[in-house]
Amino acid sequence: MTDAPLVDISGLHYRYAGAQADALADLELEVHEGEFVAVVGANGSGKSTLARLIGGLEKPAAARHALACGHDLLVEGGRMAARRDVGVLFQNPENQLVAQCVEDDVAFGLENLAWPAADIGRRVDEMLARFGLEELRRREPHMLSGGQKQRTALAGVIAVPRRVLVLDEPTAMLDPAGRDEVLTAVRELRDEGLAIVYITQEMDEAVGADRVVALERGTEVYAGDAGGLFADVALVRRLGLGLPAAGELALALAEQGRDLPGLPLTMDELLDALGGAT
């Protein structure tokens, strides 16, 4: 953690062609090795644009500095290098599946890196097992369900060894068990030392991150632990967000005149608080 951050962005601006305002404005973001940072914000707040920039897929309009894995995102060569070292899972898995069948899709990035076939085979098997895709390995991507497509795309991104992972709502299409599997995989990858930028609309998932960054119209308006964000209810509402279910119940109770100790954000914290208050 003493090393330079793997994502190190300061004063970054980005504007889409023809747009009236910056999609990202004076943005700050640092993510260190072995850190799981959740990025939250309303639809249109710039989260997906940020994912594309960190992945070297867009050129910043300006920045004091913008580095991903040490590569300078302000220059073409740096962006090309970032595309190799930063794994990006896009919001819509349809855009990410390119091959004829699931296993070819998972192998695609490794083939581009010219890995030996035997190594590719081993790595693909490992990824298919990790995401419960073994039985679907010969299935054509367009014959998969939404959740299966999302798991295939994620397996393909993670198959290539990376230092930074940017995941844009990776659990959006998944059933509750699939959601837990992805979150477990993300924590494992974090523990293996990856820097993880995790974009989500699920407030429960943000609670499980090491740190939360909230965006509003392309600008960072909060960075810190989840508890600090959710304690500022006025900010949460202004941002178009919500509290995890436990927190929403605590607020509703407070409106009824029953204040709980602290602000519970999980079921266990809520039960403790209810027990302590009765």
């Binding site: 299409m173 059933d175 941002l239 178009g240 919500g242 079921m267 039960l271 209810l274």
Partner: protein, 296 residues
């Protein structure tokens, strides 16, 4: 199930006057519906002997693991795919009955990520596309479009002339929903409508669906979000590998909980909370406000 009178009352070829949603909902019954996707190697069975009933004006959550057949079932009910065996009955009428095509037109389907299908140069034209294709007179189209835009919280005065791509993601989702509502569906099928919406926009959409429910529209909601399903839906249908594994009222018994887990689902937050507080989970609240009232 409503009888043949309901079919006769559906006025097959004359579209209902658009206005506030108010016409009675449509009843739905699937009897032994099976469907397979063709693939080069072998057909992939997607639905197998699916049978269930949904009374007019009720709401049903359609749940199950990824790939269990939820989207396919919605497409078969809408008539986009014909079942290989079995039948979809609308207001008690089957495909062989007169007026079935007209009933199918009163079934609205909101696809996954429907905003990807927005195409017209203005919000108004996009919403008007369906009603115009049904051959409605232009004055009726205009009124239907205005109403639908209002219902989804995009007032026409501000939004009708906007380019769909100039709207935010949440606004686009609601615009796509307006395109379906403009055709006055009496049975509304929604495929993962909450995915990728921010929590604020989700609350708006929940409000829209609650108003449609109150107006009597029958709702079938395919979702992975157990908490929103519990907040909105009277009943539950769980699919597992294309078969019905549970149908009817929510069941929070031990066996019911096991069934949910076996299908990669979980119990709603408030049901689990009620259980852990030693209360009867069948009486669990649907919303935080209800829960607070019960606890304070």
């Amino acid at each position: 199930m409503s009888g043949p009178e309901a079919v006769a009352g559906a006025t097959p070829d004359k579209p209902r006057m658009p206005g506030a949603p108010g016409s009675a909902g449509m009843s739905l019954a699937c009897g032994d519906v099976s469907f397979s996707y063709e693939e080069a190697r072998a057909p992939i069975p997607a639905l197998c002997d699916v049978s269930f009933e949904l009374r007019a004006g009720r709401s049903l959550a359609l749940m199950g693991a990824s790939g269990s057949g939820k989207s396919t079932l919605l497409q078969v009910i809408r008539g986009l795919d014909a079942p290989e065996t079995g039948a979809v009955l609308l207001d008690g009428a089957g495909p062989a009955d007169a007026g079935y095509a007209a009933l199918q037109r009163e079934v609205g389907l909101v696809f996954q990520a429907p905003e990807l299908q927005l195409f017209a140069p203005t919000a108004r034209d996009d919403v008007a596309f369906g009603p115009r294709r049904l051959g409605w007179p232009e004055a009726q189209v205009t009124s239907a479009v205005d109403t639908a835009l209002d219902v989804v919280g995009l007032p026409p005065a501000r939004f009708a002339e906007r380019h769909p791509y100039a709207l935010s993601g949440g606004e686009q989702r609601r615009l796509a929903l307006a395109g379906v509502l403009a055709m006055r569906p009496r049975l509304l099928l929604l495929d993962e409508p909450f995915v990728s919406l921010d929590p604020g926009t989700r609350r708006q959409l929940v409000g829209i669906l609650e108003r449609l429910k109150a107006a009597g529209v029958t709702l079938l909601l395919a979702t992975h979000d157990v908490d929103l399903a519990w907040a909105l839906c009277d009943e539950l249908l769980v699919l597992g590998e294309g078969r019905v594994v549970a149908a009817g009222p929510w069941d929070f018994s031990t066996a019911g909980g096991r069934l949910l887990a076996a299908n990669r689902l979980r119990e709603p937050f408030f049901a689990e909370l009620w259980q852990r507080l030693g209360r009867d989970p069948r009486r669990a609240p649907r919303t935080a406000a209800e829960a607070a009232e019960a606890l304070s």
